[in-house]
């Protein structure tokens, strides 16, 4: 049985294969009713808009159906049921489970109790492999990933998308440039792991210093709840705001990516520039998740 739990479980060839498959789904090279006899459970115990809807859309595009839980309040978890029991029961109803859960390692646990494939759609501050795949897919649409300079900007301490993406990029000979506010730097053990994987990691004090060296700038949300008060949040957030005047002298093919939702890190005026690729990135969630759903249920 094939589970999609953590980017750590993937080798370069696995990622390339899934990205190739996503490309085929993106260009219509698939049987429209490929999963017409399949049912997927979307178990979302944390809020989500894009991830949940793009999995549902992907399933519908393949002719399959989805059922689900939208919140802890609407599930038996409030009655004290364990995730393990929920997964055992739901496994008997469906052909695959897509899980988002606030606890780290929840998807790994689910895969141990499930009798059907489990896809991790985000577990707390842990992994979010389908997001990473769509990030890679978006970069690869414009340039080969190998050897690029990728900047990660924002909350690199708690941001799960940044950690997953950095680990995946370490398989592609990418040079990583990290730009984070004080206290939100990439955890030392992750930086160490990246360097052990042979990745060059360069830390920058601000985005102005790094942006002209980059092929990709991946911006993440600076979470307000990490700051003691609004003033200190706005102080930090304003210094990490991407505005069009930063683009003087940047590489022509620079891509600005963001997993969305954004909360002021990117000025809406950037949307009109050729560098803005985050809405395209969000759109790519559908073919990438079609590839994942098809792969685990084919």
């Amino acid at each position: 049985m094939y589970h999609i739990i953590s980017i750590r479980d993937f080798e370069r060839s696995d990622l390339d294969y899934l990205l190739d498959r996503a490309g085929e789904f993106d260009t219509g090279k698939y049987r429209p009713q490929a999963l017409d006899d399949k049912l997927v459970a979307l178990l979302f115990f944390e809020p989500s808009t894009r991830t949940r809807m793009s999995f549902a859309t992907a399933m519908a595009r393949l002719g399959g159906r989805s059922i689900g839980v939208d919140s802890v309040e609407a599930s038996s978890i409030v009655k004290g049921e364990t995730l393990a029991d929920t997964i055992r029961v739901v496994s008997s109803y469906v052909d695959a489970i897509v899980l988002r859960h606030p606890k780290e390692g929840a998807a790994r646990l689910a895969s141990e109790f499930a009798s059907v494939p489990v896809i991790n759609a985000g577990d707390g501050a842990g992994q979010h492999p389908s997001q990473t795949l769509l990030d890679l897919y978006t970069i690869r649409q414009s340039m080969p990933i190998d050897g690029t300079d990728v900047g990660l900007l924002g909350d690199l301490r708690y941001g799960r998308t940044a950690h997953s993406l950095a680990l995946a990029l370490s398989l592609y000979g990418v040079t990583l440039h990290t730009i984070a506010p004080g206290g939100l730097e990439m955890p030392a053990n992750i930086t160490l792991e990246l360097r052990e994987r042979g990745m060059e990691v360069i830390e920058h004090a601000n985005v102005e210093e790094a942006i002209r060296e980059l092929d990709v700038l991946y911006v993440t949300r600076i979470q307000r709840e990490r700051f003691p008060d609004s003033a200190s949040y706005y102080n930090v957030a304003s210094s990490y705001r991407i505005t069009p005047d930063l683009f003087a002298g940047v590489r022509d093919h620079l891509m600005i990516l963001h997993p969305l939702p954004r909360a002021g890190e990117i000025d809406p005026a950037v949307d009109q520039t050729p560098y803005a690729r985050y809405f395209e990135q969000a759109r790519n969630g559908v073919p990438v998740r079609m590839a994942l759903l098809h792969e685990v249920m084919k």
């Binding site: 953590s6 995730l83 606030p102 606890k103 780290e104 390692g105 646990l109 842990g126 053990n189 160490l192």
Partner: protein
């Protein structure tokens, strides 16, 4: 249980049946007992010697537990704190088995994950599971790395 040796050293009497844990890293004897679940309220008859002179180690701790033979999973736990420890199983005053301790590749249910957000720190029916790496213990559920103060995380 202990008496002063005429030559000036401190000796612990031999035990008839049970386990002698020798060559424990000096200062770790009480943590070893904690790992074994031996507290003031347990019934085992214990002898503990700490900071005993040792030719090989300089200083070492020794623990003798009467009428209890350690199981393999208990020995695994000791290896985390005292990798040089030697386990002697005693029957009728004779050493019937002597073994070193080995840190296993995977530790299941031995160490609590320090990450409060880890799924193993909930009411789920799973044991914590760590992969033993040269740089520390890696939680196979949440990817947390335990580098320091492992004794305090032992269940």
């Amino acid at each position: 249980m202990t008496r002063k040796d005429p030559s000036g050293g401190l000796i612990i009497s031999p035990i008839r049946n049970g386990t002698v844990i020798d060559h424990i890293t000096a200062g770790e004897a009480l943590n070893v007992l904690r790992i074994l679940g031996i507290t003031g309220s347990t019934r085992e008859c214990l002898s503990i010697a700490t900071n005993v002179r040792s030719k090989r180690m300089g200083r070492k701790d020794v623990v003798k537990i009467e009428n209890r033979e350690l199981r393999t999973e208990e020995v695994d736990r000791i290896a985390l704190l005292a990798p040089q420890a030697k386990i002697n199983i005693i029957r009728d005053y004779r050493v019937v088995e002597k073994k070193g301790v080995e840190i296993p590749e995977i530790l299941k249910g031995v160490v609590r994950c320090p990450n409060p957000g880890c799924i193993t720190n909930t009411n789920e029916p799973v044991e914590s599971t760590f992969e033993v790496l040269p740089k520390g213990l890696h939680c196979l559920y949440c990817d947390w790395l335990v580098k320091d103060d492992i004794a305090n995380h032992i269940i």
